[in-house]
């Protein structure tokens, strides 16, 4: 099956710093999503981005499908950005929706 690798596994920042999280995947994908998991376990959708670039406030993401990687950028980080960030990819042939394969996540800690 498809492999998803996220880096770095852990990241510690001071409030106000910028960061880049990376997701590499081993095959072509139809679906790529970035999530933030809060301390209570809720997976919050950040981006649906199988290709291209998107921005939402301080967060932006870029997926280069031909090179099989995606980047999540966090600018001017805040303590509320702390948590685990997951990249998940989907591969399928249509007819029903695509199962997601998750990476192991990046644990981000933003200190005041």
């Amino acid at each position: 099956g498809i492999q998803v690798e996220q880096s770095p596994p852990d990241l510690i920042l001071q409030e106000g710093a910028n960061s880049t999280l990376r997701c590499n995947f081993s095959d072509s994908v139809n679906n790529l999503q970035w999530f933030h998991q809060n301390p209570w376990g809720q997976l919050i959708n950040l981006f649906y981005i199988p290709s291209g670039t998107k921005q939402n406030g301080r967060l932006s993401a870029t997926t280069v499908a031909t090179e099989r990687y995606s980047l999540l950028y966090i600018s001017s980080s805040q303590t509320t950005d702390s948590g685990v960030y997951f990249c998940a990819v989907g591969v399928g042939s249509g007819g029903s929706n695509y199962k997601l394969t998750f990476g192991k996540g990046t644990l981000l800690t933003v200190n005041p």
């Binding site: 998803v4 139809n30 679906n31 999503q33 999530f35 209570w40 376990g41 809720q42 997976l43 959708n45 649906y48 199988p50 997951f86 998940a88 989907g90 399928g92 249509g94 007819g95 029903s96 929706n97 695509y98 199962k99 997601l100 394969t101 998750f102 990476g103 192991k104 996540g105």
Partner: protein, 114 residues
């Protein structure tokens, strides 16, 4: 517009027992997927239901079964519970089309098996 809901939020069971977890998809969605997340790991796909049928299945034993109702809500059943079944169980809903769609997750059910 209600998002994905799951019940119960927490559950404690003993080895050998059976458990049923429930999920209501986001309004307008007809596809439900279930994931298991062990502590410190990413979620792993269990199975997916669409049009009341299991469409895809991950690498989980037959002790894990499910059902989808005509209103698109879904249940996950786990029989003969093992200690290793302790995890966060997440439900995701999406719109079943011929192209990939965004999946939205519920808050999860935390299962502890003693």
């Amino acid at each position: 517009d209600a998002g994905v809901t799951q019940s119960p939020t927490h559950l404690i069971k003993t080895r050998g027992q059976q458990v049923t977890l429930r999920c209501s998809p986001k309004s307008g969605h007809d596809t439900v997927s279930w994931y298991q997340q062990a502590l410190g790991q990413g979620p792993q796909f269990i199975f997916q239901y669409y049009e009341e049928e299991e469409r895809q299945r991950g690498n989980f034993p037959d002790r894990f079964s499910g059902h989808q109702y005509p209103n698109y809500s879904s249940e996950l059943n786990v029989n003969a519970l093992l200690l290793g079944d302790s995890a966060l169980y997440l439900c995701a809903s999406s719109l079943g089309t011929w192209r990939a769609e965004t999946q939205y997750f519920g808050p999860g059910t935390r299962l502890l098996v003693l």
